[in-house]
C-alpha cells in the first residue's frame, strides 16, 4: 500500500501498463514536457519517449479519431482530453464512430481505446470548462463509462479500462486530482467494472453518489448519524456497465433512496438510476426516489452562483429528511 494522490495513482497505472504492454501509448494536449496540465502524465515522456507519449495539436476530433483507427489496427491508445467538455468537439468520432464501429461491423472490429480526462467544477473555469458530461455516454450505447471517486478506485478502474477491449470513457474530476488515499502496490490490482462500492452500510436510507458526491454523502452520513439516521452510501463507480443489483438490494433494504450527482438533474445519470430503482424496488419504497443534480442553467463563473447551482451537502440532508418524512430542522 502507498499513499498517493488521485493524479499520481492514474499516472502510475499508465506507466505500469505501458511498461507491460508495448501497444499501449498515450496522446493528448500538453502531455509531454508539461506532463499534462494536471500532472497525470508527469515523467512519462522521459521514460517512454515522444512516440509513445505523444503531444497533439489542438485537434480533438482529429486525434480521437486517430485513436480509434490505431485501436482498430491493434494498438491500445489512451487518449487524454484536457477537459471532458471537449468531447463535444470530438463528438462525432466518439459517439458515431468509437461507440458504433464494432456493432455496425458485425463484431469484426475491436476498439481497445481509453478516452480519459477530467470534468466538473472546482477551478473557476466557467461554463465551457466545468461541465459533467458522463450522461451522454451512458445514453448512447457502445462505450463504457467509468467514474472513480478515490485514488484507489482511479488506479484499479484505470487498469481494467486499459486492459478492456472496448472504448472506455474514463471520467476523472478536477477537484479530486489532489486528494490522497491508499493505493495497492500490486501491479495487477484492478477493480472490475460493474461492481458498485458500498462505502457505508445503513438501514434507514440509501445515498447513491458519484465523484465528489461520494465524499459529500459520507459527510452527510456522519452528520445524520448524530440525529439517529442510519445512512447507507453507495458509489456506483461505473455507469456502463451499471451494478443495478447492489443498488436495488440496498433500496429494498432501506426503502428510501437519494441519488446525487454534479451533472444537471434533468436527463442526468440520476434520472436513469432513479427510474431503475423505482422499477425494480417499487413495493419496497416508502417514498419516491429523490434526485439531486445541478440546476438547469449554464454553470456560472462566480463562485457564489456556482454553489447555488450544484448540489450542496445541505441539499442532500434536506433530501434525506424528505424521504424520511421528517421535518427540516
Amino acid at each position: 500500500m502507498s499513499i498517493k494522490t488521485y493524479a499520481m495513482a492514474i499516472r502510475d497505472v499508465i506507466a505500469e501498463e505501458m511498461r507491460k504492454d508495448q501497444t499501449v501509448f498515450i496522446m493528448g494536449e500538453d502531455i509531454a514536457k508539461q506532463g499534462g496540465i494536471f500532472g497525470c502524465t508527469k515523467g512519462l515522456l522521459d521514460e517512454f519517449g515522444g512516440e509513445r507519449v505523444r503531444i497533439t495539436p489542438i485537434s480533438e476530433a482529429g486525434f480521437v479519431g486517430a485513436g480509434i483507427g490505431a485501436a482498430c489496427a491493434g494498438m491500445r491508445p489512451i487518449v487524454e482530453l484536457m477537459y471532458m467538455d471537449f468531447t463535444y468537439v470530438a463528438m462525432d468520432q466518439l459517439l458515431n464512430q468509437a461507440a458504433k464501429i464494432r456493432y455496425m461491423f458485425g463484431g469484426k472490429a475491436t476498439i481497445p481505446m481509453v478516452v480519459r480526462g477530467q470534468q466538473g467544477v472546482g477551478r473557476g473555469n466557467a461554463g465551457q470548462h466545468s461541465q459533467c458530461v458522463e450522461q451522454f455516454f451512458l445514453h448512447i450505447p457502445g462505450m463504457k463509462v467509468i467514474m472513480p471517486s478515490s485514488p484507489a478506485d482511479a488506479a484499479g478502474l484505470l487498469r481494467t479500462a486499459i486492459r478492456d477491449n472496448n472504448p472506455v470513457m474514463f471520467f476523472e474530476h478536477k477537484a479530486l486530482y489532489a486528494t490522497k488515499g491508499e493505493v495497492s502496490d500490486d501491479p495487477e490490482f484492478a477493480i472490475p467494472f460493474g461492481k458498485a462500492n458500498v462505502l457505508k452500510e445503513g438501514k434507514d436510507v440509501t445515498i447513491i453518489g458519484t465523484h465528489l458526491y461520494v465524499g459529500k454523502a459520507m459527510n452527510v452520513a456522519k452528520t445524520l448519524a448524530a440525529e439517529g439516521i442510519d445512512v447507507e452510501v453507495i458509489d456506483p463507480r461505473t455507469l456502463v456497465p451499471m451494478d443495478t443489483e447492489t443498488m436495488l438490494n440496498s433500496v429494498k433494504k432501506t426503502g428510501r433512496a437519494v441519488v446525487v450527482h454534479e451533472a444537471h438533474k434533468i436527463g442526468g445519470a440520476g434520472a436513469e438510476i432513479a427510474s431503475m430503482l423505482t422499477e425494480g424496488a417499487f413495493k419496497y419504497l416508502d417514498a419516491p426516489v429523490a434526485r439531486l443534480g445541478a440546476k438547469q442553467c449554464t454553470l456560472p463563473f462566480n463562485l457564489g452562483l456556482e454553489n447555488a447551482v450544484v448540489p450542496q451537502e445541505e441539499d442532500i440532508i434536506k433530501a434525506v429528511k424528505s424521504v424520511l418524512y421528517q421535518s427540516q430542522n
Binding site: 466557467a126 463563473f301 462566480n302 457564489g304
Partner: protein, 321 residues
C-alpha cells in the same frame, strides 16, 4: 502613415491593455481572481491595431486570451475587471468570467474558451451582414493552435465559398500551452501556406508591428467590403507570460522570453511615434500614467462591486419574451 489621431488612439489602447493585464496578474497573485486568466502581455499591437480599423457595428470574436481584443473593441475597463472578479457589475453579470467577455453593443460577439470555437461564429456575423446588405465586416481572432481544429477548415471554406466579409486573424504566439508550433502545425507560415487551400489571399507577418498589421488589415477590410470574400492574416507574436497565470512554463527557456521582450510592441511603437513627432516622450509617459490610473479606477470599481445574488442564478437561461 496612419492618421495621427488613430495612432495615438492605438498607442493608448495598447497601454490600457498592458496595464490591465499587469493588474490582472497582480490581482491573481493576491488571490482576488477566481480561476485563472490568460494574459496577452506582449501581443498588444494586434488587438489595438486591428480594432482601430473597425467600427462599433463591425464584429469580432475572440479567444480565451481575449482581454486585449475586448478592450480594443471598446470595453469599459471597470466592467471588464468586474467580470474577471465575477461581480454582478461585470459584462456578463459575473457568469462568464475572463474567457467569456462579450458586449454586443460594441460588436463583440464574445471571447470563446473553446479553441477554434469563435471562427464559425464570426462567419455568422459576416453572413448576417451580407444578408442584411450592410457593409459590416467580421474579424475572427484565434491562435495557431486553433488553425489545427476542424472549425478552422470549415469556417474558412464556408466564408470563401460564400464570399463573406470575414478577416481571419491568426495570432501565432508559437505555443499552445506547452506545445511549440513546430510540434503541432504542419506548416511554419500558416497565413501564406494554408490560405491557398481555400482560394483566398493569405499573409504571414510581424504581429508586433502596428504599421504592418494596419497595412494588411486595411487591405483585407477593403476586399471584404467589396464583396470579394475573406482573408487569412497570420501575425507572429509572443506571449511574455505563461499560458495562464500560474503556468510554470517548463516548455520554453527564459532566454527565449527575454529575446521577445526586447521586441516589445509598445516600446517599438512608442519609438516610432516619438521619432515621427506624433507624440513627445512626455506625452507618451502621460498616456502610460493615464492608463495606469484608469486601470486603478477600474480595479477599485470592480473590488467594490457586489457579488451576484444567488437567487438570480436561474435567470437568462431562456429569453422570456
Amino acid at each position: 502613415m496612419l492618421e495621427k489621431e488613430r495612432m495615438i488612439s492605438i498607442f493608448k489602447t495598447m497601454n490600457n491593455i498592458r496595464k490591465f493585464e499587469e493588474k490582472a496578474y497582480q490581482l491573481f497573485e493576491q488571490n482576488k481572481l477566481r480561476g485563472s486568466v490568460h494574459l496577452c502581455i506582449g501581443q498588444e499591437a494586434i488587438p489595438a491595431t486591428v480594432c482601430s480599423l473597425l467600427r462599433d457595428e463591425d464584429y469580432i470574436t475572440s479567444t480565451h486570451r481575449g482581454h486585449g481584443h475586448c478592450i480594443a473593441k471598446g470595453a469599459e475597463l471597470g466592467k471588464a475587471m468586474a467580470e474577471l472578479m465575477g461581480k454582478a457589475t461585470g459584462y456578463c453579470k459575473g457568469r462568464g468570467g475572463s474567457m467569456h467577455i462579450a458586449d454586443l453593443t460594441k460588436g463583440n460577439l464574445g471571447a470563446n474558451a473553446i479553441v477554434g470555437g469563435g471562427l464559425p461564429i464570426a462567419v455568422g456575423g459576416a453572413l448576417a451582414a451580407k444578408l442584411k446588405g450592410t457593409d459590416q465586416v467580421a474579424v475572427s481572432f484565434f491562435g495557431e493552435g486553433a488553425s489545427n481544429e476542424g472549425t478552422f477548415h470549415e469556417a474558412i471554406n464556408l466564408a470563401s465559398v460564400w464570399k463573406l466579409p470575414v478577416i481571419f486573424i491568426c495570432e501565432n504566439n508559437l505555443y499552445g500551452i506547452s506545445c511549440h508550433a513546430s510540434e503541432s502545425t504542419s506548416v511554419v507560415d500558416i497565413g501564406t501556406s494554408r490560405a491557398s487551400g481555400y482560394n483566398i489571399p493569405g499573409y504571414s507577418a510581424d504581429g508586433n508591428d502596428v504599421l504592418t498589421i494596419n497595412d494588411l488589415v486595411e487591405k483585407a477590410i477593403a476586399r471584404a467590403k467589396a464583396g470579394e470574400g475573406p482573408t487569412l492574416i497570420e501575425l507572429k507574436t509572443y506571449r511574455w507570460l505563461g499560458h495562464w497565470t500560474g503556468d510554470p512554463q517548463v516548455y520554453r527557456s527564459k532566454e527565449e522570453v527575454e529575446e521577445w521582450k526586447q521586441k516589445c510592441p509598445i516600446k517599438r511603437f512608442k519609438e516610432y511615434l516619438i521619432n515621427n513627432q506624433v507624440l513627445t516622450s512626455a506625452e507618451c509617459d502621460e498616456i502610460e500614467t493615464d492608463a495606469l490610473n484608469q486601470v486603478e479606477a477600474a480595479t477599485k470599481f470592480a473590488l467594490e462591486s457586489p457579488e451576484p445574488d444567488p437567487a438570480t442564478v436561474m435567470e437568462d437561461v431562456f429569453c422570456e419574451n
